[in-house]
């Protein structure tokens, strides 16, 4: 009881509450701006934390993590330019919804889902941290391979119009992902002795090119023939979900949050993989109306719940084992060390109120997302009022800053430019840009875990079917791949039976 009271006092004093607000808002702004990321936002806050009380410092960073994770969806929905890698899946349905004049609704869904996902994972973190962290350690290469395959199952929904083109697109993404040094045995692959290619092709610059730049080209062709005032609302204002609306889509909220929390707990997986897997699992429903990829609300809820649930999830192994659950959690872990705390089993003993304080900070930041979301969205809304020639040029410039700032490299800008053209033609010939990105993101985890497991098995792939967790994950992966085809066949048979009767 003492610990709970101390935690409440630690979080709900004016100074700490202010830090939660500032951290959340700062994270949200950085998340919404392509070129700044959640990790960068936390790094920028780091110098301010040196002289702070450790708990206050961690609360500031965790709040920033929550805000950043949600902020990326704002530019995803409004500009088709994901502000953070986690927000890639939100563009699939968020942008089409905004195009239909429902930007406010899409943003409301994103904020509500982000908030729900954060709160869900905060409770899981509080109640089951040590146990879950141990379970996550049982994930090895075979299971990671299965996870990658579950993520790839998205293509069955992303390429609803032409499955073969979606498969080819995913293969192209996987092929691009193999460029650079092979991380298993250090062989240089497809780099043609170009130093800039040795580190591989960053998916953020590909994504900015294929999504944002290609979309600008497309809009240049169309904007003179379309009344743009009908496509985007004059004033973008978040429309929050009512409880009854939430209740109708409860399954998407829960599914997304569970997936996000689990993936967040698994070391080094992170929010971007979580959101893709959640989107994939959601988009299995073929009868959805509107279809996935055309502005389905569940296509926003699932990834948003998932990547924000990964925030709390990723704190579990970070706090209890000292193993970061995501790239951003790795930055937070570094911050722990800088301020003199060592994450791991001893931390919760030495700092008994830490876990409760982080839990309360997560909940508070999640609730404040509604306020921060309104503010940041209204500022972004002004940009949308620009005539398209100005808006299009601005999107390109923002994208360029985003690509360049990744590695301070001109080469990433070239990648963005090239994939702008590739994305344009892919769009015209009905290939799937989203599937290319999916392959590029998941390629590394799939290839490396496949080969690692075979190496562990001394050249045999039996490890995939002898490990119980692996069997479970692979079964889910195979089912998610086959389910759309199976459900089609079941429906066909049903229809045939009805006709014959």
């Amino acid at each position: 009881m003492d610990i709970i009271i101390q935690s409440l006092v630690a979080v709900y004093n004016p100074m700490t509450f202010l830090l939660v607000c500032v951290g959340m808002l700062f994270g949200m702004i950085c998340g919404a701006l392509p070129g700044l990321s959640t990790s960068m936002a936390i790094i920028l806050l780091l110098p301010f934390t040196y002289s702070m009380d450790p708990i206050m410092a961690i609360i500031l960073m965790v709040s920033c993590y929550v805000g950043g994770s949600c902020g990326g969806s704002i530019s995803s929905i409004l500009l088709k330019t994901p502000g953070t890698p986690e927000a890639v899946a939100t563009t699939f349905d968020g942008y089409p919804m905004a195009q239909k004049g429902k930007a406010g609704e899409a943003l409301g869904l994103a904020v509500t889902a982000s908030s729900f996902g954060t709160i869900f994972s905060a409770f899981v973190m509080l109640l089951a941290s040590p146990m879950l962290a141990q379970a996550a350690l049982s994930f090895q290469s075979a299971e990671y391979f299965g996870l990658g395959l579950i993520g790839l199952s998205c293509i069955t929904s992303l390429g609803a119009k032409n499955q073969t083109k979606a498969v080819v697109s995913v293969m192209i993404g996987l092929m691009i992902g193999t460029i650079g040094i092979d991380s298993i045995n250090g062989v240089e692959r497809f780099a043609f002795e170009q130093p800039s290619l040795l580190n591989g092709i960053n998916y953020i610059s590909v994504m900015i090119g294929a999504f944002a730049v290609a979309e600008v080209y497309k809009n240049i062709e169309e904007y003179r023939h379309v009344d743009t005032s009908l496509r985007s609302e004059h004033k973008v204002k978040i429309k929050l979900l009512k409880f009854s609306e939430m209740a109708k889509m409860w399954s998407s909220f829960i599914r997304g949050s569970v997936i996000g929390t689990i993936i967040g707990i698994i070391p080094a997986a992170g929010g971007s993989i979580a959101s893709l897997i959640a989107y994939g699992s959601e988009a299995q429903n073929e009868n959805a109306n509107p279809k996935f990829g055309e502005g389905n609300p569940r296509g926003i809820i699932a990834p948003e719940c998932s990547h924000n649930a990964a925030v709390g999830g990723s704190m579990v192994p970070t706090l209890t084992l000292g193993i970061p659950g995501s790239p951003v959690a790795a930055v937070i872990m570094a911050a722990f060390l800088i301020i003199g705390l060592t994450p791991g089993p001893m931390l919760l003993r030495e700092q008994p109120i830490m876990l409760n304080a982080i839990f309360l900070a997560l909940i508070t930041a999640a609730l404040l997302l509604f306020v921060g979301g309104r503010f940041v969205t209204s500022q972004f809304g002004h940009i949308l009022k620009l005539p398209y020639p100005l808006l299009g040029s601005l999107i390109i410039t923002l994208g360029l800053v985003g690509a360049y700032s990744l590695k301070n490299s001109f080469y990433d800008v070239l990648i963005m430019f090239v994939f702008g053209l590739v994305g344009y033609f892919f769009d015209k010939f009905k290939y799937s840009n989203a599937a290319v990105i999916l392959g590029l993101i998941l390629g590394e985890i799939i290839e490396n875990s496949l080969r690692k497991q075979i190496i562990i098995g001394d050249g045999s792939g039996m490890g995939f079917v002898t490990r119980p967790v692996s069997v479970l994950v692979l079964t889910v992966a195979v089912l998610t791949f086959l389910w759309p085809m199976m459900s089609k066949k079941i429906k066909k048979n049903k229809l045939a039976r009805q006709v014959s009767q």
């Binding site: 080209y217 240049i220 062709e221 299009g392 040029s393 410039t397 800053v401 496949l450 001394d458």
Partner: protein, 161 residues
């Protein structure tokens, strides 16, 4: 239809080149690494080729016409997109020479003009304000690296961000 077939052939040639490179990748010393560095690329390359062949056959059968304005320079829309691709190429090329500030200033004037925007005063304000805001927010406030250009432009950029 012809454009799509040409596009598929181009992708196919790219995949064949990728496969040729993958086959030449050195074998690993570790006998347990059955796939080696080239195994996975060969698998995905072959799947991509099979998929492409299926798509091309389907395209030939379907005979669907795809409108691609960028390839039709006789249309106003086509010219507009094509010019914008060139303007962006020039912007990207200039970044490393004259730096972010000047290149962005010029791009934000030229790109809207090439999209048919004809309000010079508004354009000048937009270009100046946007460039300034970007430099202040990204370059000064958040220390985000921005291209500096070469020689004199590089030296000058250090005075700003």
């Amino acid at each position: 239809m012809a454009a799509e077939i040409v596009f598929n052939i181009l992708i196919g040639l790219g995949v064949l080149f990728y496969l040729a490179q993958a086959i030449q990748l050195p074998a690993t010393d570790n006998p347990a690494d059955v796939l080696g560095a080239g195994g996975f690329p060969i698998i995905i390359g072959v799947i991509a080729l099979i998929g492409l062949a299926m798509i091309t056959i389907h395209t030939i059968k379907e005979k669907r016409k795809v409108d691609i304005p960028m390839l039709n320079l006789r249309s106003v829309d086509g010219r507009m997109v094509f010019i914008n691709v060139l303007v962006l190429a020039a912007y990207v090329g200039l970044l490393d020479v004259i730096g972010f500030v000047l290149a962005t200033l010029i791009y934000l004037v030229v790109a809207p003009l090439s999209m048919g925007y004809r309000k010079p005063a508004a354009l000048a304000v937009f270009s100046g304000v946007t460039t300034a805001v970007m430099v202040v927010v990204f370059g000064i406030l958040f220390y985000v690296p921005l291209p500096r250009g070469a020689e004199l432009f590089r030296d000058l950029s250090y005075l700003i961000y």
